[in-house]
Amino acid sequence: MNLTRRAMLAVAGAALIPGRAVAAPGSRVAVAQCPDYGRSLMPALSRMFDQLGGLEKLVRGKTVAMKVNLTGSPTYRLGYVALESTHYTHPAVIGVTAHLMGRAGARRIRILESPWSTAGPIEEYVLQANWEPDEILKAAPKVEFVNTNWGGPKMKYSRFMTPNGGHIYPGFDLHPAYEECDVFVSVAKMKDHVTAGITLSMKNCFGITPCTIYGAGAGADAPSLTPTGGRGMFHDGLRQPSKSSPQERSHNVPKDGGSRVPRIVADIVAARPIHLAIVEAVETMAGGEGPWTGPGLRVVSPKVLVAGLNPVATDAVCMRLMNYDPMAQRGTAPFETCDNTLALAEQHGVGTRDPNQIEVVGATIEQAKFNFAALREEKKKLIGRRRRG
């Protein structure tokens, strides 16, 4: 286990961050309408990156790590619908983004994910979803997949410390790929989430944590050899990560998923900052984050792309596009039973969720809005009817 340079900086930096809500500077977020994952996609993403100041400035000569969302088993679909049309980041978005990064001079592009319960190659995982991995690997020079659900063949982890000591976790041990990059990009799907209300660029990073340490089968003292199961400890706190990794704070730690998951997501994105947040919803699902979150799930086509250099601001714009209020408090949609991840990340100084401090460029919110909120109400009614029998 290495205490990395980044971890040292995080520990040193933590002393400089006051222990109160910090209003980060306003951010620019680009929004584009995109009818499909075909020919319209590349010009739309390219224009959005230009609106953010250009990719070249961000990635030229750099190693880029792109965390994508491949949540759940690749053999589990919502109905007959392909995974990328509902809950996986679409391979076209991954491929086109990698292509544009390569064209902008990225030295190396690594596609990262911690797929369900395996340390096997991501290529094998996506083949099961009926993807062709070569379409991503050949999108630009030096593209590779990295499974970050473990410490890699050398079983080494990089430690990332959370500013302010974290809401729950003072730090995390992650696959070294999260340290061996100059630019970290979250490429997420826009979805509702049954535990955290919404899942966007920040919640996508829940999956950067390796299940060898944070999973159901994690070793008690040290990471297990390979990952098994999900991250139940993040939801219920019934067990701790492997003892070799930072443990939960010992006091004032909630035990319900609706309080814990948003806090842990905020801790993660504060510990491992996101340089570029991309959220796609050309096609996606409403009502939950995967087919296991039914009933009342819907396949929808909002036909929208969102990108920003600040994940809190980007997620705030996404929420507005979903017809939710990013300033919403616990008890109101979409945070009926959970805390607002954006607010918790804001407390860490990661960014602002205040619409008044965020500049939206490209399509307007009104032009690109898709009413997830209305579908959420329909789902609630459906569940209510079923409960009443």
Partner: protein, 378 residues
Amino acid sequence: MEWPISWPAAWRASKSPVEMAGFSRYESGRLPPGVIVVKGDWAGVARQTGGGSAGPTGAPWVDSNGWRIRLARMQNPGRTVWVECEAAKDNDVIRPEQYLLGVADAAAHSGRWVVTLDSAFQKGLDGRAALATTAWERLRGAVKFFGQREDRETLPARAALAVVSDFAGDNEFLSHEILNLAARQQLPYLLVDKSKFTRLPDGLKAVVYADAQAPSTVLRAALAAFVKGGGLLITGAAWGKAEGTALPDSPTVRYTVYTVGQGRIAIPTDSKMDDPYLVAADAQMLLGHRHDVMRLWNGGILGAYPTGDAKRTVVHLINYSGRVGGDPVSLWIAGAFQNATLFSFEFAEPKKLALTRQRGGVEIHLPPLAVYGAVEVR
């Protein structure tokens, strides 16, 4: 083993009620010619007080006789394999679907399941109880369906992987369980009996040789040629030291992979090959999914047995839960096929199914199946 004392009136009146119902009669020690009997289990999610039991992954434990039947057929060419299970105990609660599963699981693998009615079922038939007679009609329908002896049930297995063993003696437990657990993971395989070895089947991409003894000279030469030609050999200490260069990365940490000629040899890092679950799981990891002959989405605990070839494939699907699942199932089959038909005793007629071309194969959306369906593509 006894047939029920009483049968529904129509059969009771007949001189040969068993045959009329589409069954063959089996009395212990008096087998029809050309038939062998193997001991098996009730197919389905393993029965246990308080609900189903779980396997090492936490998934429900599924019993299937498919691997036993295939092994017995290979070892006894030309003979019909019947599977005999322990009779249900008096206090066992047996759902009608469990009989259907027994019949379908065996027939899909070209065997036959010996039906032994539980006492409640027998009493129900005696008393002409509606539930029992309905269940009996369903069972009879399934038997009739498979009794048509379509060649769908006798096509050879379609797979990219072969398991080579003598399946006997010191190798019996490991080799049998590899077959059982590979099928459970929906990893299709062919069987090769090393005691009668002449050549490897065509079209293979990988071979598992997990026996404790070194392969014979002929087998070793065939496996070495297979590897040099681009194949993958997954083997243990019995193979000896692998020639070739160790790759820096392996798809699974439990194996070191050596490149030899155009192919690869994978040997466990600790030389041990004694856990059949891991052997099967690692075989899938090492082989990869590039050569899948079929894929299932929302398959749950469906068993899948692909047979045939790239011109005509039949995938037997057995729903070991015996209940229609909540999530619709999609099936992908490798190959350029034009049409798809579903055969099942759950439908009065075969169903033509729509197919779409998807990445080197065809994708088919299946209607709900409670027990069994065979999807044939041509």
